[in-house]
Symmetry: C2
Subunit: 176 residues, 2 copies
Protein backbone atom coordinates (compact mmCIF):
# COMPACT_ATOMS: atom_id res chain seq x y z
CA UNK A 1 0.00 0.00 0.00
CA UNK A 2 1.24 3.47 -0.84
CA UNK A 3 2.30 5.51 2.19
CA UNK A 4 0.46 8.77 2.70
CA UNK A 5 2.29 11.81 1.44
CA UNK A 6 2.84 15.03 3.40
CA UNK A 7 3.91 18.24 1.65
CA UNK A 8 5.63 20.69 4.00
CA UNK A 9 6.27 24.36 3.32
CA UNK A 10 9.64 25.85 4.34
CA UNK A 11 9.38 29.58 5.11
CA UNK A 12 7.72 30.30 8.46
CA UNK A 13 6.94 26.60 8.86
CA UNK A 14 10.36 24.87 8.95
CA UNK A 15 12.42 28.07 8.97
CA UNK A 16 11.78 31.24 10.97
CA UNK A 17 11.87 33.81 8.18
CA UNK A 18 9.54 36.69 9.03
CA UNK A 19 11.82 37.67 11.94
CA UNK A 20 14.59 38.69 9.51
CA UNK A 21 12.09 40.60 7.37
CA UNK A 22 10.93 42.48 10.47
CA UNK A 23 14.51 43.24 11.54
CA UNK A 24 15.17 44.70 8.08
CA UNK A 25 12.10 46.94 8.34
CA UNK A 26 13.31 48.26 11.69
CA UNK A 27 16.87 48.73 10.46
CA UNK A 28 16.04 50.37 7.11
CA UNK A 29 13.28 52.67 8.35
CA UNK A 30 14.42 53.32 11.91
CA UNK A 31 11.38 51.69 13.49
CA UNK A 32 10.98 49.57 16.56
CA UNK A 33 8.25 47.16 15.48
CA UNK A 34 7.81 43.72 16.98
CA UNK A 35 5.84 40.65 15.93
CA UNK A 36 2.91 41.67 18.11
CA UNK A 37 2.44 44.86 16.04
CA UNK A 38 1.64 42.61 13.07
CA UNK A 39 -0.75 40.21 14.81
CA UNK A 40 -3.76 39.77 12.53
CA UNK A 41 -2.40 42.24 10.00
CA UNK A 42 -0.61 42.17 6.68
CA UNK A 43 2.79 43.82 6.24
CA UNK A 44 1.12 46.54 4.18
CA UNK A 45 -1.23 47.46 7.03
CA UNK A 46 1.84 48.69 8.93
CA UNK A 47 4.44 49.70 6.34
CA UNK A 48 4.15 51.47 2.98
CA UNK A 49 4.37 49.69 -0.36
CA UNK A 50 7.76 51.35 -1.02
CA UNK A 51 9.09 50.15 2.31
CA UNK A 52 7.82 46.66 1.57
CA UNK A 53 9.50 46.69 -1.87
CA UNK A 54 12.81 47.81 -0.32
CA UNK A 55 12.68 44.79 2.02
CA UNK A 56 11.80 42.44 -0.87
CA UNK A 57 14.90 43.73 -2.71
CA UNK A 58 16.96 42.33 0.16
CA UNK A 59 15.25 38.95 -0.18
CA UNK A 60 16.72 38.75 -3.71
CA UNK A 61 20.27 39.18 -2.40
CA UNK A 62 22.72 36.29 -2.21
CA UNK A 63 22.90 34.62 1.18
CA UNK A 64 19.50 35.79 2.41
CA UNK A 65 18.14 32.25 2.79
CA UNK A 66 21.21 30.63 4.34
CA UNK A 67 20.98 31.54 8.02
CA UNK A 68 17.35 31.26 9.08
CA UNK A 69 16.79 29.71 12.51
CA UNK A 70 14.89 26.44 12.61
CA UNK A 71 11.29 26.42 13.87
CA UNK A 72 11.20 24.77 17.35
CA UNK A 73 10.86 20.95 17.22
CA UNK A 74 10.73 20.94 13.40
CA UNK A 75 13.75 18.64 13.01
CA UNK A 76 12.58 15.99 15.47
CA UNK A 77 8.95 15.94 14.28
CA UNK A 78 9.74 15.98 10.54
CA UNK A 79 12.28 13.21 11.09
CA UNK A 80 9.59 11.11 12.77
CA UNK A 81 7.04 11.97 10.06
CA UNK A 82 9.61 10.92 7.45
CA UNK A 83 9.64 7.42 8.96
CA UNK A 84 5.89 6.99 8.68
CA UNK A 85 4.95 9.08 5.61
CA UNK A 86 6.42 10.13 2.28
CA UNK A 87 7.54 13.62 3.25
CA UNK A 88 8.08 16.21 0.50
CA UNK A 89 9.40 19.70 1.19
CA UNK A 90 7.48 22.07 -1.10
CA UNK A 91 8.69 25.66 -1.17
CA UNK A 92 7.43 28.54 -3.31
CA UNK A 93 10.91 29.71 -4.30
CA UNK A 94 11.17 30.36 -8.03
CA UNK A 95 10.35 34.07 -7.49
CA UNK A 96 13.81 34.33 -5.87
CA UNK A 97 16.34 32.49 -8.08
CA UNK A 98 19.18 32.99 -5.57
CA UNK A 99 17.11 31.26 -2.92
CA UNK A 100 16.99 27.96 -4.83
CA UNK A 101 20.48 26.63 -4.12
CA UNK A 102 20.47 28.27 -0.67
CA UNK A 103 17.32 26.39 0.28
CA UNK A 104 19.01 23.13 -0.76
CA UNK A 105 22.05 24.03 1.39
CA UNK A 106 19.87 24.98 4.39
CA UNK A 107 17.91 21.73 4.11
CA UNK A 108 21.07 19.61 3.76
CA UNK A 109 22.53 21.27 6.84
CA UNK A 110 19.50 21.04 9.14
CA UNK A 111 17.42 18.22 7.64
CA UNK A 112 20.04 15.87 6.14
CA UNK A 113 17.54 12.98 6.16
CA UNK A 114 15.51 14.69 3.40
CA UNK A 115 16.53 13.28 0.02
CA UNK A 116 16.91 15.66 -2.94
CA UNK A 117 14.19 13.61 -4.67
CA UNK A 118 11.73 14.84 -2.05
CA UNK A 119 12.36 18.56 -2.47
CA UNK A 120 10.13 20.69 -4.69
CA UNK A 121 10.96 24.34 -5.45
CA UNK A 122 8.05 25.89 -7.26
CA UNK A 123 5.77 28.92 -7.59
CA UNK A 124 2.09 28.07 -7.74
CA UNK A 125 1.53 25.08 -5.41
CA UNK A 126 -1.77 24.06 -7.03
CA UNK A 127 0.27 21.57 -9.09
CA UNK A 128 1.17 19.58 -5.95
CA UNK A 129 -0.60 16.31 -5.23
CA UNK A 130 -0.37 15.03 -1.65
CA UNK A 131 -2.52 13.80 1.23
CA UNK A 132 -1.54 16.60 3.62
CA UNK A 133 -0.20 20.11 3.17
CA UNK A 134 1.34 21.98 6.09
CA UNK A 135 1.65 25.63 5.06
CA UNK A 136 1.19 29.09 6.55
CA UNK A 137 -0.22 30.78 3.42
CA UNK A 138 -3.98 30.59 2.71
CA UNK A 139 -3.23 31.07 -1.04
CA UNK A 140 -1.39 27.73 -1.03
CA UNK A 141 -3.96 25.92 1.11
CA UNK A 142 -6.88 27.21 -0.97
CA UNK A 143 -6.16 25.12 -4.07
CA UNK A 144 -5.01 22.02 -2.20
CA UNK A 145 -7.26 18.97 -2.56
CA UNK A 146 -5.98 16.97 0.43
CA UNK A 147 -6.12 17.76 4.14
CA UNK A 148 -4.76 21.21 5.03
CA UNK A 149 -2.98 22.19 8.21
CA UNK A 150 -2.37 25.93 8.53
CA UNK A 151 0.78 26.69 10.49
CA UNK A 152 0.17 29.66 12.79
CA UNK A 153 1.92 32.81 11.50
CA UNK A 154 1.61 36.53 12.15
CA UNK A 155 0.03 37.10 8.73
CA UNK A 156 -2.71 34.42 8.97
CA UNK A 157 -4.28 35.36 12.32
CA UNK A 158 -7.67 36.29 10.84
CA UNK A 159 -7.99 33.19 8.63
CA UNK A 160 -10.44 30.56 9.88
CA UNK A 161 -10.90 28.32 6.81
CA UNK A 162 -8.28 25.70 7.77
CA UNK A 163 -7.28 23.69 10.81
CA UNK A 164 -4.74 25.90 12.60
CA UNK A 165 -1.67 24.27 14.16
CA UNK A 166 0.35 26.27 16.67
CA UNK A 167 3.57 24.25 16.71
CA UNK A 168 5.40 21.16 15.46
CA UNK A 169 4.54 19.48 18.78
CA UNK A 170 0.86 19.89 17.92
CA UNK A 171 1.46 18.46 14.43
CA UNK A 172 3.10 15.45 16.09
CA UNK A 173 -0.02 14.79 18.14
CA UNK A 174 -2.18 14.96 14.99
CA UNK A 175 -0.05 12.93 12.57
CA UNK A 176 2.11 10.61 14.67
CA UNK B 1 -14.03 25.97 -16.15
CA UNK B 2 -10.46 25.17 -15.20
CA UNK B 3 -8.09 25.03 -18.15
CA UNK B 4 -6.29 21.76 -18.68
CA UNK B 5 -2.78 21.67 -17.30
CA UNK B 6 0.29 20.48 -19.18
CA UNK B 7 3.52 19.65 -17.35
CA UNK B 8 6.57 19.85 -19.60
CA UNK B 9 10.01 18.43 -18.83
CA UNK B 10 13.10 20.52 -19.72
CA UNK B 11 16.15 18.32 -20.43
CA UNK B 12 15.98 16.59 -23.81
CA UNK B 13 12.44 17.91 -24.29
CA UNK B 14 12.80 21.72 -24.31
CA UNK B 15 16.60 21.77 -24.21
CA UNK B 16 19.02 19.57 -26.18
CA UNK B 17 21.15 18.23 -23.34
CA UNK B 18 22.39 14.74 -24.22
CA UNK B 19 24.52 16.20 -27.03
CA UNK B 20 26.78 17.95 -24.49
CA UNK B 21 27.01 14.79 -22.39
CA UNK B 22 28.09 12.85 -25.50
CA UNK B 23 30.67 15.49 -26.44
CA UNK B 24 32.13 15.24 -22.93
CA UNK B 25 32.41 11.45 -23.24
CA UNK B 26 34.28 11.82 -26.52
CA UNK B 27 36.53 14.56 -25.18
CA UNK B 28 37.36 12.95 -21.83
CA UNK B 29 37.90 9.42 -23.10
CA UNK B 30 39.17 10.07 -26.62
CA UNK B 31 36.23 8.39 -28.31
CA UNK B 32 34.32 9.22 -31.45
CA UNK B 33 30.80 8.16 -30.47
CA UNK B 34 27.70 9.65 -32.07
CA UNK B 35 24.01 9.59 -31.13
CA UNK B 36 23.41 6.58 -33.38
CA UNK B 37 25.79 4.47 -31.27
CA UNK B 38 23.37 4.96 -28.36
CA UNK B 39 20.11 4.22 -30.20
CA UNK B 40 18.07 1.88 -28.01
CA UNK B 41 20.80 1.68 -25.41
CA UNK B 42 21.61 3.19 -22.05
CA UNK B 43 24.78 5.18 -21.46
CA UNK B 44 26.14 2.28 -19.40
CA UNK B 45 25.77 -0.15 -22.31
CA UNK B 46 28.50 1.83 -24.10
CA UNK B 47 30.63 3.45 -21.41
CA UNK B 48 31.89 2.20 -18.04
CA UNK B 49 30.38 3.31 -14.72
CA UNK B 50 33.57 5.29 -13.94
CA UNK B 51 33.37 7.10 -17.26
CA UNK B 52 29.70 7.86 -16.60
CA UNK B 53 30.52 9.21 -13.14
CA UNK B 54 33.25 11.46 -14.55
CA UNK B 55 30.70 12.97 -16.95
CA UNK B 56 28.16 13.44 -14.14
CA UNK B 57 30.81 15.35 -12.18
CA UNK B 58 30.83 17.88 -15.02
CA UNK B 59 27.03 18.23 -14.78
CA UNK B 60 27.53 19.51 -11.22
CA UNK B 61 29.82 22.32 -12.42
CA UNK B 62 28.69 25.92 -12.58
CA UNK B 63 27.45 27.03 -15.98
CA UNK B 64 26.68 23.54 -17.29
CA UNK B 65 22.97 24.28 -17.78
CA UNK B 66 23.27 27.76 -19.26
CA UNK B 67 24.04 27.16 -22.92
CA UNK B 68 21.91 24.25 -24.10
CA UNK B 69 20.42 24.66 -27.58
CA UNK B 70 16.63 24.78 -27.80
CA UNK B 71 14.75 21.77 -29.18
CA UNK B 72 13.42 22.63 -32.68
CA UNK B 73 10.01 24.36 -32.63
CA UNK B 74 9.80 24.20 -28.82
CA UNK B 75 9.43 27.97 -28.38
CA UNK B 76 6.65 28.44 -30.92
CA UNK B 77 4.64 25.36 -29.85
CA UNK B 78 4.98 25.94 -26.09
CA UNK B 79 4.00 29.58 -26.61
CA UNK B 80 0.84 28.44 -28.39
CA UNK B 81 0.14 25.77 -25.75
CA UNK B 82 0.53 28.46 -23.09
CA UNK B 83 -2.37 30.38 -24.65
CA UNK B 84 -4.71 27.41 -24.50
CA UNK B 85 -3.56 25.46 -21.44
CA UNK B 86 -2.00 26.08 -18.03
CA UNK B 87 1.59 25.21 -18.90
CA UNK B 88 3.98 24.24 -16.10
CA UNK B 89 7.66 23.53 -16.67
CA UNK B 90 8.58 20.60 -14.42
CA UNK B 91 12.25 19.71 -14.24
CA UNK B 92 13.97 17.08 -12.09
CA UNK B 93 16.76 19.38 -10.99
CA UNK B 94 17.33 19.19 -7.23
CA UNK B 95 20.06 16.55 -7.73
CA UNK B 96 22.16 19.36 -9.22
CA UNK B 97 21.88 22.45 -6.96
CA UNK B 98 23.89 24.63 -9.38
CA UNK B 99 21.40 23.85 -12.13
CA UNK B 100 18.48 25.46 -10.28
CA UNK B 101 19.22 29.14 -10.91
CA UNK B 102 20.74 28.32 -14.32
CA UNK B 103 17.50 26.67 -15.40
CA UNK B 104 15.60 29.81 -14.37
CA UNK B 105 18.04 31.95 -16.41
CA UNK B 106 17.78 29.64 -19.45
CA UNK B 107 13.97 29.71 -19.29
CA UNK B 108 13.85 33.51 -18.88
CA UNK B 109 16.13 33.90 -21.89
CA UNK B 110 14.39 31.51 -24.28
CA UNK B 111 10.86 31.21 -22.89
CA UNK B 112 10.19 34.65 -21.35
CA UNK B 113 6.44 34.08 -21.51
CA UNK B 114 6.72 31.39 -18.79
CA UNK B 115 5.97 32.95 -15.40
CA UNK B 116 8.08 31.96 -12.37
CA UNK B 117 4.86 30.72 -10.78
CA UNK B 118 4.67 28.03 -13.46
CA UNK B 119 8.15 26.58 -12.95
CA UNK B 120 8.70 23.51 -10.76
CA UNK B 121 12.20 22.27 -9.91
CA UNK B 122 11.92 18.94 -8.18
CA UNK B 123 13.26 15.40 -7.86
CA UNK B 124 10.58 12.73 -7.85
CA UNK B 125 7.83 13.88 -10.25
CA UNK B 126 5.17 11.60 -8.75
CA UNK B 127 4.07 14.61 -6.67
CA UNK B 128 2.95 16.49 -9.81
CA UNK B 129 -0.73 16.73 -10.64
CA UNK B 130 -1.57 17.67 -14.24
CA UNK B 131 -3.66 16.54 -17.19
CA UNK B 132 -0.67 15.93 -19.51
CA UNK B 133 2.99 15.19 -18.95
CA UNK B 134 5.47 15.57 -21.79
CA UNK B 135 8.70 13.86 -20.69
CA UNK B 136 11.43 11.66 -22.13
CA UNK B 137 12.02 9.52 -19.02
CA UNK B 138 9.84 6.44 -18.42
CA UNK B 139 10.53 6.74 -14.65
CA UNK B 140 8.66 10.07 -14.66
CA UNK B 141 5.83 8.90 -16.91
CA UNK B 142 5.32 5.70 -14.90
CA UNK B 143 3.83 7.35 -11.82
CA UNK B 144 1.87 10.01 -13.71
CA UNK B 145 -1.92 9.71 -13.47
CA UNK B 146 -2.83 11.91 -16.47
CA UNK B 147 -2.12 11.44 -20.16
CA UNK B 148 1.55 10.78 -20.93
CA UNK B 149 3.44 11.83 -24.05
CA UNK B 150 6.94 10.35 -24.27
CA UNK B 151 9.31 12.66 -26.12
CA UNK B 152 11.57 10.60 -28.37
CA UNK B 153 15.14 10.39 -26.98
CA UNK B 154 18.13 8.16 -27.58
CA UNK B 155 17.67 6.47 -24.20
CA UNK B 156 13.96 5.56 -24.56
CA UNK B 157 14.02 3.78 -27.94
CA UNK B 158 12.97 0.40 -26.56
CA UNK B 159 10.10 1.74 -24.41
CA UNK B 160 6.62 1.09 -25.79
CA UNK B 161 4.37 1.84 -22.78
CA UNK B 162 3.58 5.46 -23.70
CA UNK B 163 2.50 7.43 -26.75
CA UNK B 164 5.76 8.45 -28.41
CA UNK B 165 6.07 11.93 -29.91
CA UNK B 166 8.92 12.62 -32.32
CA UNK B 167 8.91 16.43 -32.28
CA UNK B 168 7.23 19.61 -31.04
CA UNK B 169 5.46 19.81 -34.42
CA UNK B 170 3.82 16.47 -33.66
CA UNK B 171 2.83 17.67 -30.18
CA UNK B 172 1.20 20.68 -31.84
CA UNK B 173 -0.96 18.42 -34.00
CA UNK B 174 -2.05 16.46 -30.91
CA UNK B 175 -2.72 19.30 -28.46
CA UNK B 176 -3.47 22.39 -30.54
Amino acid sequence: MRRQRIAIDMDDVMAITSEKFLKNINRLFDKNLSEKDFKGKYWLDIITIDQYKACIELVHEEGYFLDFPIMPDAVEVIKALNEKYDVFIVSAATEFPNSLKEKMIWLAEHFPFINWKNIVLCGDKSIISADYLIDDHPKNLKTFLGKSLMFDAIHNQTVTDYQRVMSWKEIATILL
